[in-house]
Structures are given as structure tokens and as C-alpha cells.
Symmetry: C2
Subunit: 766 residues, 2 copies
């Protein structure tokens, strides 16, 4: 068990590193050459231009104005100043709602902490169990922190009633705040959706599992089906091409293009010698040749192949996958089609509301129904394996964290460790960091698993991998840290234990792990969040690209990587703090201030980042909120069972019936919230669709919707290509030609995600 001095060291280290990160940020962000790293959002918006090029050459890169450095923290009020409606306008609803989660944490935990410090800490501190225990068994070392925790209350003490009452108070408070927040977010979402301007996905439905027909092509079949079954509403449709090979070629070409630019730049700087390269892998071996000529030829070759492939895809009926984007004359028609079942066979003609064009995950549109079932089953098995086997490295970390066991298993390290400060370092810093590194790799694996599951929208993919990540953190980080041993061992143990023993096992270990989690919060929550604002990786990458690849202003725009709020990763990690806060609120309230500091600090940092840096790839209008809500409630229920288990070992068995009511009530609360709010996040009310339709009919009677929707759902590789898809109908308005010309103008950017999404915005603005 770590004692108070260990924690103090850890706190000092973490605070120091957080402070250093902040200082570094404050200095770096003032340098004009870093401007695109720390304020990319404003460049994308077109509001910020390059820093003024007047003045000396040095001034172009460094900020020499000393006065600016004095006010190190002047970004803080700036981050807080922007009011919420403006923030939604500026960064989108997803981001604005996301940072509300941090606020939610403050709203829940500040009053809880006040109450806990007012009531539970005095009750625990005067409990006196600590002294008794120390007398009875000397080898058991309690940390001083335990004096403030429930461990200091002797068994069967009447004082435990305070903890039970507080558990009730905390539950009701959490539920009350959650209900209020759900209501606010729902209103925000509905208001946002209602005030949104016209978008292609409002009129469009994604149809998958189109059955094959011997007499008709897929395109004809889709048209006939919807003309018959939605006669008044059907407008047009777009089939989906299997353009994966083409997309690969486009990205290959882009890569070659980058190399060509690199060598051209090199030659321009040193025009004495033409740069050479080797033909082998990554230019590492093979015949030596002239680099510029080589890449120019390669690009030409690939361009020709690309054109052939492009024509093959469009001409070949085999390249059409059995899915289509069907557009309707009105939002009402699309809402109807998305919410209804089309045919008797529920595995065919499946309709869902189309994802935003940027949000479509094209590779998964063609998966047949049966295969989808098999895939889901396979991924469930894979997830089970992952959760119960990934733990091995984490267990090693847990062993490392335990100085005593190092001394036991690696005695030669003993003299090294016994130096006080190193010992503190190992206990206070290392475990958190190692755990963190493992957890960084994981989301990518989970994302791949979610892709195999076959979801058709990037937002779905992210929501699903967030769910998996949350489960993983729950089992492996929370349970894995509390109960020793691998998850598989735990599972075996839990299966052999009675249902009432499981909360006991967890409950008994929880107070002993408080110091570990305090350390974890400081490393991951304090220093980690401070590192986020520094953006070290994008900073380095930007300058590398700037030196090697950038020629024009547009290249510089591309080199700039704003990144985005990776909510499928940050949200489940965030949930761990809710879980810890709720679990320890009644058991070791001393942990609460650490959590509150985290929430406040992270709120500040992320608000700044959202305003100045991140650029979201799509907008889901806060559709993740039901997940957030549910996961906090899962944390609440876990905390209730933990307390129940702990108290039943404290010879307060009578408390069980009183405490078992809490999870039942909490579960019911979940059901009520689900009934009351969730449909606003999943369904599409007809009334709202009708209002928007009517309004539009009055204000824009001349609107040509068909032209507007024409190319919204074209596969990104066809965007801005030379070859036009004329699959659906031949008539083309003048407006359309204009757009097409614009797009072919930006041809070279085709295939990159950012490029296409920017372009999308362009089209929408038309």
C-alpha cells in the first residue's frame, strides 16, 4: 500500500509535468510558425490568415514581443468566454455537448464531495478501527489515507448508517442531475436539427440488401420498387459502386505525388545534382535511377490505369453492390421510408436514414444479411477473447506497482529501489504510464472489430467501438485493478463464487486500491490532459511536412492536421472517472477532489481545443448521449453493489435489503429515461419533417431538389473525377454543370477524406 508521502511525490511529479506542458504550450502557441498547429480551426473556417508577413524574416517564425509571454494563461478566459450557442455554431453540436460531459461531472461531484467531506470524512476519521486493527495484526500496513475511508469504521458499527443514507442521497442526486441533463441535451438536439439548413441526408434513405432480379439491373429494380411503394414521394436514387480498388489506386497516386514533390523541392534547393532513388521497397535497394523522372512516369502510368478502372467500375454491372441511396421529394417521405418495413421479408429492402455523406462507410454497404449475422457472432466471440486475454500485460504492471513483490521476485533490483525517490517514482508514476500505453493501442483494434461487424456509418462504427472500449475498461482496468489476477482467472473465480460473494470480493478490495486510483487520476487525468493541449505529435508532423512537402499555400493547408475530438476513445476513458467517483464517494471520499480537479481542468482544456483546434469529420447532433447516460448509470449501479458487498463484510448484514433497493430503482430510472428521451436520438418525428417541408415549400417554391441531391451520395473517388456518372437520368440542369466544373477544377485532391469533405461543404454552401 502506498502511503501519503508516495502520493505527495506523485502529485508533485504530475503537477510539475502538467505545469511544464502548459508553459511549453503558452510559449509555442505564440510563435507564428506554429500558428497552424494551435489554431487550425480558424484557418479551416477561413477566418484566420497567415500571420502578417511584414517585418523581419525572424519575426515570421518567432514571436519576439516579450509582453505576450508575461500573460501565460491568457488563453483561459478566451476559452471560457465563447457562449454555448456560438460554440455550437462554431464547432458543431457534437463538440459542444461533448464538453458538457465534463460539466456534468462537476455538477454531480461537487455537491457530493461537499456532503461527503461534511458528513462521511468526520464519521470515518473518528471511527477508530484503524487503531484496533493495528494492535491486533501488525503485519497489515494501512495507509494513512485509510483513516479517512470506511476502513476506519469498525464492523457492525452504527456509524455505517451514515454511509447507507449517503448512498441514497448520492444516487438520487446523480439521477436528478442526469435526468435534467438528458432533457437539456434532447432539447439542444431537437433545436439543432430543427434549425439546420437543408442537407442531402434529410431527404435520403439508405437501402441495403436489395434482392437481385433476373430481368432488371439493380438500379432499375430500386427505381421500380420505390416508384410503386412510395408513389407520391419517390424522387431519385443513386446506386453504390464497389470502388475499393479504385480508391486504393487514388491513394497510391497521392502517395507518389508526395514523393515527386519531395524530390522536386530537393532539386530546387540544390540544383547541382538531380536526386536519385532506388526501385525497391521504400527506395531502400534496387537499381539507382533519376527520382523525378521515375515518379513522373509512375504517376502517368497509374493515371492511365486509374482511368481504365474508373470506366470498368461504371460500365460493369458486377461493380454495382446491392445497396442504394434513395431520395424523396420531402423530408416527410424520407422519414416515412426510413421508419417503416418495406416487404414481408425482413432481410430485404432494409431502409435506414442515410448517414451524412461524409459519414458513410462505403466498404460495408454490400454485406448480405446472413453474413452480417455470422460476423456479429464472430466479433462477439473475438471480443470475449480480447477482454479475457489482453489483461496479461496489465497484470505485469500491477505486479510492478507493488514494490514488495519486486523485492521478492527481482531481488537484485532491491538496492536500486530502496532509494526513496525512485521507489516513489515507480509506485507513483510508472504503473499509470504503462497502462496508458497499452490502452492507446487498443481503440484501433476495437475499431477494426467494429468494421468487421458491418456498420454502414462512421458514427455507428465509433459508437460501437466506444461501447467495446467501455466494456474493456470496466472489466480490465477497473475490475482488473481491484481484483488481482487475469480477467480469465477472475472469471473462473467469479463462476465458482456465489452471487452474493462477488460484490463482497470487490467491495473489500476497493478501499485498498484508493491510492492506486488516485495516482492513476493524476497521471491520466492531470498530466495526460495537459499534454493534450500541447499537441506534440501534430506539431512535429506539421513541421516535417512543412519542410519536405509544402510548396504552395494549399499544400500548407493540407499539411495542417486539425485532428478531431476522438470521442470513441475519450468518452469511455472519461466514464472511468465517473465510475471511480461514484464508487469511492461513499467509501473513500478523499478521492473526490482529485476527480473534481480533473473534470474542471479537462473542461477548460477541451473547450480551448474545440474552439481553436479540432475539426470534426461529421456531425451526429449529439446522438451519442444515450450511451453516455447509460454508462454513467452502469457506474452508479456498480458503485451500489460495491457498497453492498463491502457493508455485508462489515457485519452489517441488515443493510443488504435496504441497499438492494437502490440498483432496482436505478434500473427503473434507466428504463424511464429510455422511454422518455431515447427516441429523440433514434427516430425522426413526422411533425418536424412536415414543418420543415412546409416552410421550404413556401420560402423556396422554385427549388430543384433533384439537382440539389444529384451528387451528394457519390463515392468519394468519383467526386471531381473527369468521368461523370450518368446512371440515373440524363437530363442535367445548368446549375449542375456549374458544380461539376468546379469539382473537376479541384481534381487532384480527389480521394482524400479531408479533401472530399471540404468539397462537400463547398457544395452544400452553393
Amino acid at each position: 500500500m502506498a502511503n501519503v508521502s508516495d502520493i505527495t511525490v506523485s502529485a508533485f511529479i504530475n503537477c510539475l509535468s502538467a505545469f511544464l506542458f502548459l508553459v511549453a504550450f503558452a510559449i509555442l502557441r505564440l510563435q507564428p510558425m506554429n500558428d497552424r498547429v494551435y489554431f487550425p480551426k480558424w484557418y479551416i473556417k477561413g477566418i484566420r490568415e497567415n500571420p502578417s508577413t511584414a517585418g523581419s524574416f525572424v519575426k515570421h517564425f518567432l514571436n519576439l514581443d516579450v509582453r505576450m509571454y508575461i500573460r501565460l494563461l491568457n488563453w483561459v478566459p478566451a476559452a471560457l468566454r465563447m457562449p454555448e450557442p456560438e460554440l455550437i455554431e462554431h464547432a458543431g453540436l457534437d463538440s459542444a455537448v461533448y464538453i458538457r460531459i465534463y460539466l456534468l461531472g462537476l455538477k454531480i461531484f461537487v455537491p457530493i464531495a461537499l456532503l461527503a467531506f461534511g458528513v462521511l470524512v468526520p464519521v470515518n476519521f473518528t471511527g477508530g478501527n484503524f487503531n484496533i486493527m493495528r494492535l491486533s495484526m501488525k503485519d497489515l500496513t494501512f495507509g494513512e489515507i485509510d483513516k479517512f475511508s470506511i476502513s476506519n469504521v469498525p464492523p457492525a458499527s452504527k456509524r455505517l448508517a451514515a454511509h447507507i443514507i449517503m448512498a441514497y442521497v448520492f444516487t438520487f442526486w446523480t439521477c436528478y442531475i442526469l435526468y435534467k441533463e438528458y432533457k437539456i441535451v434532447t432539447d439542444m438536439r431537437l433545436h439543432f436539427l430543427a434549425s439546420q439548413s437543408r442537407r442531402p441526408d434529410q431527404f435520403t434513405v439508405l437501402v441495403t440488401n436489395v434482392p437481385s432480379d433476373p430481368d432488371e439491373s439493380i438500379s432499375q429494380h430500386v427505381e421500380h420498387f420505390f416508384r410503386v411503394n412510395h408513389p407520391d414521394q419517390y424522387l431519385t436514387h443513386k446506386v453504390v459502386y464497389n470502388a475499393n480498388k479504385l480508391a486504393k489506386m487514388v491513394s497510391q497516386k497521392k502517395d507518389l505525388h508526395n514523393r515527386l514533390i519531395y524530390y522536386t523541392n530537393k532539386y530546387e534547393r540544390k540544383p547541382i545534382r538531380r536526386p536519385t532513388t532506388k526501385t525497391g521497397f521504400w527506395g531502400l535497394w534496387g537499381k539507382k535511377i533519376d527520382a523525378i523522372n521515375y515518379y513522373t512516369e509512375e504517376i502517368e502510368k497509374l493515371s492511365k490505369q486509374e482511368i481504365v478502372e474508373r470506366e470498368r467500375v461504371i460500365g460493369d454491372p458486377e461493380a454495382v453492390v446491392p445497396a442504394a441511396f434513395v431520395s424523396f421529394r420531402s423530408r416527410w417521405g424520407a422519414a416515412v421510408c426510413a421508419q417503416t418495413q418495406q416487404t414481408r421479408n425482413p432481410t430485404r429492402w432494409l431502409t435506414t436514414w442515410a448517414p451524412e455523406p461524409r459519414d458513410v462507410y462505403w466498404n460495408n454497404l454490400a454485406i448480405p444479411f446472413v453474413e452480417l449475422n455470422v460476423r456479429r457472432f464472430a466479433t462477439a466471440v473475438a471480443m470475449f477473447g480480447l477482454i479475457f486475454c489482453f489483461i496479461v500485460p496489465i497484470t505485469i504492471v500491477q505486479t510492478l506497482a507493488n514494490i514488495e513483490s519486486i523485492n521478492k521476485y527481482l531481488p537484485f533490483l532491491k538496492p536500486l529501489i530502496d532509494r526513496g525517490s525512485l521507489k516513489a517514482l515507480i509506485q507513483g508514476f510508472l504503473p499509470g504510464i504503462v497502462l496508458k500505453i497499452f490502452l492507446l493501442v487498443l481503440p484501433m483494434i476495437l475499431m477494426e472489430i467494429s468494421k468487421i461487424e458491418g456498420h454502414v456509418a462512421v458514427s455507428d462504427l465509433e459508437a460501437r467501438s466506444a461501447g467495446k472500449f467501455h466494456l474493456f475498461l470496466l472489466v480490465n482496468v477497473f475490475l482488473g485493478s481491484i481484483v488481482a489476477g487475469t480477467a480469465l482467472q477472475q472469471l473462473k473465480e467469479f463462476l465458482n463464487k456465489s452471487a452474493s460473494d462477488i460484490p463482497k470480493t470487490v467491495g473489500v478490495s476497493v478501499p485498498m486500491k484508493a491510492t492506486f486510483f488516485i495516482t492513476y487520476i493524476m497521471v491520466d487525468g492531470w498530466a495526460g490532459v495537459a499534454a493534450e493541449i500541447l499537441r506534440i505529435v501534430p506539431l512535429i508532423l506539421y513541421h516535417l511536412k512543412n519542410i519536405l512537402l509544402v510548396k504552395t499555400e494549399r499544400d500548407r493547408d493540407e499539411a495542417m492536421d486539425p485532428g478531431s475530438l476522438l470521442w470513441p476513445i475519450t468518452e469511455p476513458r472519461l466514464q472511468l472517472y465517473f465510475l471511480l467517483g461514484l464508487v469511492y464517494s461513499t467509501i473513500t471520499p478523499i478521492l473526490l477532489p482529485f476527480i473534481i480537479v480533473f473534470f474542471a481542468f479537462a473542461y477548460l482544456i477541451f473547450r480551448h481545443q474545440i474552439i481553436n483546434v479540432y475539426h470534426q469529420k461529421y456531425e451526429s447532433a449529439a446522438s451519442f448521449w444515450p450511451d453516455v447516460h447509460r454508462r454513467i448509470l452502469i457506474g452508479l449501479i456498480i458503485s451500489q453493489f460495491t457498497l453492498l458487498g463491502l457493508l455485508s463484510t462489515k457485519q452489517a448484514a441488515n443493510s443488504t435489503p435496504v441497499l438492494i433497493v437502490l440498483p432496482v430503482l436505478t434500473f427503473w430510472f434507466h428504463k424511464v429515461c429510455k422511454n422518455r428521451f431515447e427516441s429523440a436520438f433514434r427516430k425522426f418525428p413526422l411533425q418536424d419533417a412536415m414543418i420543415k417541408d412546409t416552410l421550404e415549400r413556401v420560402t423556396e417554391p422554385q427549388l430543384n431538389l433533384k439537382d440539389y441531391l444529384k451528387d451528394a451520395y457519390t463515392h468519394p473517388v468519383f467526386r471531381g473525377g473527369v468521368v461523370e456518372l450518368t446512371d440515373i437520368d440524363e437530363e442535367e440542369g445548368d446549375g449542375y454543370h456549374l458544380v461539376a466544373t468546379k469539382r473537376s477544377h479541384m481534381g487532384s485532391k480527389a480521394g482524400t477524406r479531408d479533401g472530399s469533405s471540404e468539397e462537400m461543404t463547398g457544395i452544400f454552401a452553393v
Copy 2:
């Protein structure tokens, strides 16, 4: 433990009683005076008339044709002869699909029994554990039946592999048959729905939770809302009145009317003395008065009150509940409205497909959303209490069944019991009967709980109470019989046991309870089903009514009670046989023939009853099938866990990983079936609606749908009443007047369920 001779006695008793029931039925059904008890279905259909009144007076009541009595079982081929399509036509899809469950039982268990007797019985019989055990501990008495069961295989024997392989074979076979059956039933349902003639519920949606509006009445509010949001499709609507008080008056009046007829009949038969009655409760005390005059006056008084109340309900805006039946121009429009969300607030303007008019449960239409949530929570708690407390009497029965414990606790009964035959009677007959009586009361309680839950259709109510009953049987009859003690004790014990110990506890007890369940099958399944065909209660009631109340031919029609297939009661009971068959298929296969006899016999009996007797109150087009399917799968999973637990006590621990795969695969199979088939039972494909609409438009272009729908969803008490509801619109076609006149002609029957449903059929046939 009962031995083979006990079972033989029980089998003899039960076979004898079944035979006696069948003989009694064969004789009684030939008597003309019983004709309406045993063939009511044909009277309702209007195909069968009274038996010819020619011949002597005696012949009118008794059948004296001796030849008819010789062929006792000639109803059997008649019951089997009717082909399925004709059966659907004759009795409806619900009934036709219901008896397929018995066939399904045969399809599953006949091959399983053949395999089990071919493989497992020899393996068990030659196991030899029995002899070893007998030598080692003499006090443990094994029944001879255990020789054929898995108990006779010694621990850690290689023979157990046969049981594991068979568990796989049985699981795959069951799933295969279930999948095939689900597909057949789905096709039958879809075909039935597609070939159905026009019905009001095809065009109608039930809207609940209509918000109140200060400026508009509920009727106006509904009309405006749907005119705006379904402009092309909205046709008309019907508000719902809170006519519960009125309905009570109508039924009171009917009761008084019956008494009046009784006394009039009495007077006519003995015109010497006018019959008298007393004014108090049930005519038992109070002032003595002339009965005929009294009831005539009372009826008149009530009639006046009824007219006043009728006018109050129609005139008073307070009597309108916030719910309405909204009808659309086409089936497509109704399908769209039923499947979509109307407004942002998911607690308002809730739309569901309207139940068939006969199927509406009027009392529950006005429950607000929040109250519904509270009610569901309360009923869940009540169900928990019921399941874990109702067991006390059943435990007493279980104790009774144990002769040894009677001798112990009630020693004075010993000499009585020791007489061999009585002992066998107690063990073989009594426990089943007592259990049965308890179970007869239960469904009514469960139905009341379901009503409190607030479902709006009788079919929903029945489906929900069936689910509750199934849960109850599972916990209390199956688990309660296997593990001794009350359910509450069990729960406590299970909570204190590890997850892997629970299947062990159950698994070890299962083989020991085989004889008990064999007895149960014979009592409940053999004799009980035979009693069903005799219809003792309806027979007695019919003759009582015939003597006391019948004056005219129409009275006789009303006295005839065809009853109906009480599937919410019979189906869960039936599931117990599937469960027993699956659980014992690998453990004590000797039980299987008893189950097969049950399924075959019950199939025969119920097919006969469906053809000749039952008259279903509504038609749900086999919407119960997903429940049936799911419950059989629950039984399958329980059987897999039981075997797993049993084998793990047989020191065959390596079998656990092999067997744990089975429930996982079964659960996945459930998911696949749910995805593949369930929506055909829950949703309404637009394509089918469109086909029917188009067809109708072509064949009946002149159809006035508004007139057709006009009175379909009027509260039954207003049916055929004098006062007409002219709430929605004033224009009335000629056709409508015709219907109204017809209905008022049948005025006196208003308010009775049967009366109104018959009338409905009349209206539909127009």
C-alpha cells in the same frame, strides 16, 4: 422415490380415468339435448340446426339408435380428416397454428426418443453404477427406473461421451425443426393476412396520450394534427369515451333481465302462485315482494338511468379520454402512421396499429405515459412477490407426496397409508391433482396483473399473462419440484451458491425427480386432456340455463357457451412438457414416451375441440408464435445447463467447455430467428399494404370507406343503442342508416361481449 409398481398403479388409474372420460364423451355427445354443448361451433356458423324434432318426445333428448354407440371412437377420424387450409377457414389461423404446437412436439420428440432408446438406454442400462451404489450405501433406495437413466453410469465413465454427443444431436435437431416451423408459420401468417378481406383495423391506428389543448376539444385536436401531418392519407377518426359506468349499468340490466325471465318461467309453469323474492342481497333477506313486478320496475328504473348516463357521456367533454382511433384513406397510410413517430416528445401522440375492434380493451385506453411507467414497475414488483410466495402450498403438496415424511410427521396416518393401494394412490395421483388446482386459480390473478400493466388489446393482455404464467411454472413447478424448499429459500440458496454450483444442484436432483414428473404427465397430460373433451362444466351450466332461463330459440343460443382455446393458460402449461422432454431426453429417456403420448393425444383432442366446439373471441393471425418459439428455446437452454451441471458432478469436468458451447449457439440461433422472422409478427410491410390498396382501388372504385369505417370503433355499449354518436361529422350516407337500423333492432343484446362480437361479424359481412 416411487418404484415401478407405483408408476404402474398411477398409469392404470390415469389410463382408466382417461378411458372413462372418453366413453362418457362418446355417449353424451350422441344425445340430441347435448348437441349444443358438443357442437356449438357449427351452430354459431349457422350450419347446424336443431336436431330434427320429428319422432317421439324422448327421441328429442336421447339418442336411442344403438348402432351409433358401437363405434365409440368414430369422432377420431372425423377430427383428423379436415385438411389444414379448411381448418384455417373454419376456425381461424390462431387455432390452426395452436394445434401445430402439439405436432411440433411430436416432430421434435419422436426422432429424439428413437435415438435415445437406440443409444442412451443401452448405454445407461449396462452402466452398472446401480449395483456398485447399492453395495456401498444401503439406505439410498434407487427406483428401478434409474437403471435406464444416467444415474446408472458410474462417475468419470467414458460412456458419458454418448450423452454429450446426443446433447449436440438433440440440440441441432430441435433447432432445425424450430427453424422450419417458424418459417412455415410465418408464411401461413403472411398468406393469411394477404388473403384477408377488408377489415376496419387495416385502415386504423390507435392514438394514445393525446395532449390537451386549451383551445380545442380532443376530437378537434386529433383531426387538426392528422390533417396537417398526414395530409393525403387522413380520413376520419373516432374519439374514445370513458363509458365504464355505463357499461356497468348495461350489464346490471342484463342481470336483472335474466332474473325476470327466471321468475316469469317459474310463474308460467306453476301459475297458481306468483313468485316472490326479497329485496336484500341476492334475494336472501329483506322484505318479501312480488318478484315479477319488482324486477320489471327495477329494469325500467335502470333503463331511465342508463339513458341519462348515455347522454351525459356523449355530451360531457370530460368523458372523452385522450385517445382516439384514427382511420386513413388506405392501408398504406395506416401502416405509415402506425410505424412512425409523430412528434418530438415520445410520450405524446403515440401511434400503434389498432387492435381488431373485438380485441380492444377499453378500460386501459386512457392511462397517461408516466402512470404507465409506474404501473409497470409496480407489477414487476408484484410478480416477484407472487412467484416467490405462492410456492408455500405447492411445497406442502411436495411433502405430502413423500410417504416417508407423512409417516414421520403424521404417524397416526401410518396404518391407513400402509395399505398398499392407498399408498400408491397418494403417491401417484394426489400431488398432481393438488398442484393442478392451485395452477387453475393462478391465471386469473396473472390476468388482473396484466390488466394493471395497462395494455390496450385483449390479445396483448393474454400474451403478457401467458409470459408471466410461463415464468411462474418455470420457477415454481419445474425448479420448485426439483429443488426442495420454497422459492424464496431457493433464491437465498442460489444467491449464496456459486454460478457453477447452481446447474450442479439442479442437475443432481433431476434424475431423482423423473418418477414424479412421469406421474405429473399422466395426470395433467393424459387424464386432464381427456377431461377437456368431456366439457363437464359447460355441460352442467348449459342444462341449468336451459331449465331456468331459456324461453326462445335465441335464448338457447345465448345459453350455449362454446368457450375458446385459452391459449394464455394452455400454452405455458404445454411448454412444461417441452421443457421436461428436453431436460430428460439425455438424462432419463424413459420419460420421453409419456410425453409423446401426451402430444399425440392432445393433438387429437384439441383438433376435435377446435373443429366442433371453441369459438375464438378474436383473431391475432398467430401473433403468439415468437413467444412459443422463444420459450421452447429457453427450455432447450435449461436442459443444456442441467446436463452440464450433472456431468460436472460425475467427475467429467472436461465436458464443461464442450457443453458450454451449446447454450451460446442456441442463444445465437435465437437471435438469428428473431432477426429473420419476428418482424413479420410485429410490423406491417408497406409493399403488402400497397398491393391490397391497389387491388381494392381497381375492383371497388366506388367504395365509400368512410361509411364502412364509421362505427367500427364505437365502444360496445353504444353499439345498437338508441342514441347515435354524431361526433365526427354530420353527413350520413344511406348505407349507414341501414346499418344503424339493423343494429338497434338487436338492441337488447348490447353490452355483452358475445353479442357485440357476433354483431361485428354481421357488420363486416355487409
